[in-house]
C-alpha cells in the first residue's frame, strides 16, 4: 500500500476563487492510501515545495498528488521536489484543477465537486505508480552520411568541424552530386563548380572525414547511438591509395564509345574514367560492363601505361563494418524519366532535352565546352522553347507525373532563359508557364529581370504537342492570356522535368525503419518543429531526400541536421524517457501485432527460453522493446491482443483506476 500525500494549491484566488480548497483536501483525506492532506496558497513556491518535502519525511510518503495547475506547467517542478525529498520523481501525479476546473467553471459547488473527483482520480493512479528510472545507453562518437552531394558534403563538414569523425558513403565514383553538374546557380549566377569544388577539396582533406566513394550501404542494425552498418565498397579495379589521377589510363583506353553519365549521355567516356576534372577522390574507375580486359581478358593497356601500378583487374568488392552514433540520409534526387511524356517528342528528337541536360550543354566543362549548340547537328539554336511543370503538379490519378510542385524549376528556367539571352541576344526565348513560383530571397526580382532586362518571353499556357519536322521542332501551345493557339518553329526545346527522390532511398528507408511518404520522400519527425529528424531516433535528413529544395535550402537543412547530430554525439550517454512500452513476456504470444504498429521500429522479437513447471525449458518468441528507440506513444499497447504490452507511467491498470474514480 502506498503512503500518499495530497497537496491542494489555491493558486491565490485562481483556484480558491471557484474551488473550496479546504473541502477538497478534507475530502481526499479519506481516499485509500492517503495518509496526509493539506492545502496552501502557492504550492509551486519555495515555501509550498518545502511543505511537500517536509511531509514526505514526516509521514514517510511514497506517493504525491498535487491538485494544482496543468501538469504541462509544473509537473517537472514537483517531480524535482519529490526527487529532492528522496522520492522517485515518477511517484508524483498532478490533478489539473485550475485550467480544467476552476478557470472553466463558475459555480463553487460544481467546481469543488469536480476538483474532488479529479483529485480522487489522481490518487487512484498514484496508488498504482511504480518508481521509474530512465534507461541509459552509450553513444558511438562517429556519424555516417549517406550521399555525397552538396547536402551530404555540408553535413559532413559541419560535423567534422565540431570534432567528430564522419564517413561519407557515395554510390558514384566521386562526390559532388547534382550540383557538380550544374552550370550557374540562381539567383546570384555564381558558377556551381566555383563554389562546390572548394568544399569537395575540404572534405577530401579533412582529418575527420573518410570518403567511401563507389560504395553502398548494405545493412543497418542497432539503434540511436549504436548503429552497426555494413558498407559495400564496390571494386573499381584501381587501387585508390596508389592512383594519382594522372589520367594516362583514360587517354589510352581503346573503349571510347561509352555514354558519359556525367554529361547525361550527350558525349562519350572511356571504359576507364574519371567523371570530371575536379572529382573527389580523383581516382580512375574501370567500368566492368565496358572493359575488354574484365570481360574477355584481352587488353590490359591501362595496366601497362599506369606508372604507379594502380590498376588491379582482380580487385573484389570489399565489405566494411563500422559503428555509428548517428546516421544522416542525403540521398538526393533525379529528374523523372520523360518516356511517358512523348507528346513533347523527347524520344523522337535529340533537340528536345531536359533542363539538367541543358545545364551540361551550357557548362564550360560540358560536351560542347559551354557553347550552346543543339545536340542533333551542333548548330546554334535561334528559337528556344522552355516548358515548365513537365510531370509536376499532376493529378494523383494521372498515369504519369508527380502530384507535388518540384519547386526549383521556375527559378532554374528563368536562369537558363536569362543566360541564353545574355550570351546570344539573337536568340528568341519562350517560357511556357502555368504559374511562376518564386518565393525566396531575391527570387522574384531575378525572374523579373529575365523578363524586363533580358526580354525573355513568358507565356501563360502550356505546350500541347511537339512535332519534329525537318530541322525544326513544331511547337503547338496555348497562350491563355491572348486566347490563342500558338505555333512556334523551335530549334531547341527544354523540358523542366519534375524531380523525384533517388531510387536508392526506398531500400535505405527499409533498412533504417525510417518512414517515407507515398512519393518516396523521407518523412520528418514533425513537419514544422522537427524538420531535419526522421521519426526514427538517431536518423537525420539532409537535402532533397526529404522534399524538393534548392541549394540554399539544402545547405541550411544540411547544417541543421549536422547541429542535431552534434547535439547527439556530444553526449556520453543517452537518457531515455522512462514512460515507455514494456511487454510482459509471460503473456506475450509472439504475434507481431505490436511490431507492425510501432512507428519507430522499437519492437523486435527474440526467441527466449522459459523454464516450465516440469523443469523442462520451452522456447517462445517474445516481444522486446528497445528503450532507446521507444517514444512512449502506446500504439502497441492497444494492438496487443494478449494484453502483454503495457506503457510505463500510463499503465492500463492506472487508466482504468482513473476511469473508475471518475465514474464512482
Amino acid at each position: 500500500m502506498q503512503r500518499i500525500g495530497v497537496f491542494v494549491c489555491w493558486c491565490g484566488t485562481n483556484i480558491a476563487g471557484t474551488v473550496d480548497v479546504a473541502a477538497v483536501s478534507e475530502a481526499l483525506k479519506s481516499e485509500p492510501g492517503v495518509v496526509f492532506s493539506t492545502n496552501y496558497q502557492y504550492m509551486c513556491s519555495q515555501a509550498g515545495q518545502d511543505i511537500i518535502k517536509d511531509a514526505v519525511k514526516e509521514h514517510n510518503l511514497t506517493g504525491i498528488v498535487v491538485c494544482s495547475c496543468s501538469p504541462r506547467m509544473h509537473e517537472a517542478t514537483f517531480r524535482k521536489t519529490a526527487a529532492a525529498a528522496g522520492l522517485n520523481p515518477y511517484m508524483v501525479e498532478i490533478a489539473n484543477i485550475r485550467e480544467q476546473c476552476s478557470w472553466v467553471h463558475k459555480d463553487m459547488l460544481t467546481g469543488t465537486e469536480k476538483a474532488i473527483i479529479l483529485g480522487k482520480a489522481a490518487v487512484a493512479k498514484v496508488n498504482l505508480n511504480t518508481p521509474l528510472t530512465p534507461g541509459e545507453s552509450p553513444v558511438t562518437k562517429r556519424a555516417l552520411v549517406i550521399g555525397g552531394g552538396i547536402a551530404g558534403i555540408q553535413t559532413a563538414l559541419d560535423i567534422a568541424d565540431a570534432g567528430f569523425p564522419v564517413d561519407i558513403v557515395e554510390k558514384n565514383p566521386t562526390i559532388g552530386g547534382k550540383m557538380a553538374q550544374l552550370d550557374k546557380t540562381f539567383p546570384t549566377l555564381d558558377c556551381a563548380a566555383c563554389i562546390l569544388t572548394p568544399k569537395m577539396v575540404d572534405v577530401a582533406q579533412h582529418e575527420n572525414i573518410r570518403i567511401f566513394s563507389y560504395s553502398e550501404v548494405e545493412e543497418i542494425g542497432g539503434f540511436v547511438g549504436n548503429f552497426d552498418v555494413k558498407i559495400k565498397k564496390k571494386a573499381r579495379f584501381v587501387k585508390e591509395d596508389i592512383c594519382t589521377g594522372c589520367g594516362a589510363c583514360v587517354e589510352k583506353c581503346p573503349m571510347k564509345k561509352i555514354p558519359n553519365e556525367f554529361n547525361l549521355g550527350m558525349d562519350n567516356r572511356r571504359a576507364v574514367y574519371i567523371p570530371f576534372a575536379q572529382a573527389v577522390p580523383k581516382v580512375a574507375t574501370i567500368d566492368p560492363s565496358a572493359c575488354n580486359m574484365l570481360k574477355s581478358g584481352k587488353c590490359g593497356i591501362c595496366s601497362k601505361v599506369c606508372t604507379a601500378g594502380a590498376i588491379d583487374y582482380k580487385q573484389k568488392d570489399e565489405l566494411i563494418e563500422e559503428k555509428y552514433g548517428a546516421i544522416v540520409v542525403a540521398t538526393g534526387f533525379n529528374p523523372i524519366s520523360m518516356d511517358k511524356f512523348d507528346e513533347f517528342a523527347y524520344n523522337q528528337s535529340r533537340d528536345v532535352i531536359t533542363s539538367l541536360e541543358f545545364e551540361r550543354l551550357t557548362n564550360a566543362a560540358g560536351p560542347t565546352q559551354g557553347k550552346l549548340l543543339r545536340p542533333s547537328d551542333l548548330e546554334h539554336p535561334h528559337t528556344i522553347v522552355f516548358v515548365q511543370c513537365v510531370g509536376s503538379r499532376c493529378d494523383a490519378c494521372a498515369e504519369k507525373g508527380k502530384e507535388y510542385c518540384s519547386k526549383i524549376c521556375c527559378m532554374y528556367t528563368a536562369k537558363h532563359a536569362m543566360l541564353v539571352r545574355d550570351k546570344y541576344p539573337d536568340t528568341e526565348v519562350y517560357v511556357f508557364y502555368i504559374d511562376v513560383r518564386t518565393p525566396g530571397k531575391n527570387f522574384d526580382e531575378f525572374y523579373r529581370r529575365a523578363v524586363e532586362e533580358y526580354g525573355v518571353r513568358y507565356i501563360k499556357g502550356m505546350v500541347g504537342k511537339i512535332t519534329p519536322e525537318g530541322d525544326k521542332l513544331k511547337v503547338q501551345a496555348s497562350d491563355l492570356l491572348a486566347d490563342k493557339q500558338l505555333h512556334i518553329d523551335a530549334d531547341l526545346v527544354v523540358l523542366a522535368a519534375a524531380i523525384e527522390p533517388d531510387k536508392t532511398a526506398r531500400p535505405l528507408a527499409t533498412m533504417l525503419t525510417a518512414s517515407m511518404d507515398t512519393n518516396d520522400f523521407f518523412t520528418e519527425a514533425h513537419p514544422k518543429l522537427r524538420p531535419v529528424e526522421s521519426p526514427t531516433a538517431g536518423v537525420f535528413l539532409s537535402g532533397t531526400c526529404q522534399g524538393p529544395k534548392d541549394i540554399p535550402e539544402t545547405v541550411s537543412q544540411a547544417s541543421a541536421a549536422a547541429a542535431k547530430v552534434i547535439g547527439l554525439l556530444v553526449k556520453d550517454k543517452l537518457t531515455g524517457n522512462p514512460c515507455i512500452a514494456s511487454p510482459n513476456e509471460l503473456m506475450c504470444n509472439g504475434c507481431s501485432s505490436c511490431e507492425r504498429v510501432c512507428p519507430y521500429g522499437a519492437i523486435t522479437y527474440i526467441d527466449k527460453e522459459f523454464p516450465q513447471p516440469d523443469r523442462t525449458v520451452a522456447v517462445r518468441r517474445v516481444a522486446q522493446v528497445n528503450p532507446a528507440v521507444c517514444q512512449g506513444c502506446g500504439a502497441c499497447t492497444v494492438a496487443c491482443m494478449s494484453g502483454a504490452m503495457d506503457l510505463r507511467g500510463f499503465m492500463s491498470s492506472q487508466i482504468i483506476a482513473e476511469v473508475d474514480a471518475i465514474c464512482k
Binding site: 489539473n96 476546473c101 472553466v104 467553471h105 514512460c579 502506446g634 492497444v638 482504468i656
Partner: protein, 144 residues
C-alpha cells in the same frame, strides 16, 4: 447539493500534445463548459484502449469522448490514424449493442484550439444530456 437535476457523466480522453493542451488553453481563456466533463490525460489518442471506454460505460459514464491531434499532426506521426480506425470499429460495435451513436465521439483538437475544445465539450455534454442516463451498458453491480 442539487440532486434533482440530471447531469450526465462524461469521460474525456485527451492526448498530451494537442487536445490536453487545447483544454488548458480553453482554461487560460476562461471558456466555460460543463463540469460534467472529466479529462484523463494519455500520451497519445492511440493509447486509448477500447476497453477503457467500455469500462467507463460499465461504471456508469453517460458519454465518452476521445480527443487527438488533427490527422497529419500527431506527435508520434501516425497514432491518431490508429485511433481513427480503432474507434470506427468500436463505435460500430457499440451501435450494434444498442448504445446511441451520440454517446461516443472522436474529435481532433489542436493545442491552439481552446475555443474548439470548449465548443465541442458544450455540444457533447448537451447531446449526452438530451439522451439521458446510460442504462443499457451500465453494470448495476458496479453501483454503490
Amino acid at each position: 447539493m442539487q440532486v434533482n437535476e440530471y447531469r450526465p457523466l462524461i469521460v474525456a480522453f485527451c492526448c498530451n500534445w494537442c487536445s490536453y493542451a487545447g483544454a488548458d488553453l480553453a482554461g487560460n481563456n476562461r471558456l466555460n463548459y460543463p463540469a460534467d466533463v472529466k479529462i484523463i490525460r494519455v500520451p497519445c489518442s492511440c493509447r486509448v484502449n477500447p476497453m477503457f471506454i467500455l469500462r467507463a460505460f460499465q461504471r456508469g459514464a453517460d458519454g465518452v469522448i476521445i480527443c487527438g491531434c488533427h490527422p497529419g499532426d500527431c506527435h508520434y506521426t501516425s497514432g491518431n490514424y490508429y485511433t481513427r480506425r480503432r474507434m470506427a470499429l468500436l463505435f460500430s460495435m457499440l451501435d450494434y449493442l444498442g448504445i446511441e451513436r451520440e454517446r461516443t465521439r472522436l474529435e481532433w483538437v489542436s493545442a491552439a484550439e481552446g475555443a474548439k475544445f470548449a465548443a465541442t465539450m458544450n455540444d457533447f455534454a448537451e447531446t449526452v444530456a438530451a439522451l439521458g442516463e446510460n442504462k443499457r451498458l451500465e453494470d448495476l453491480r458496479c453501483k454503490k
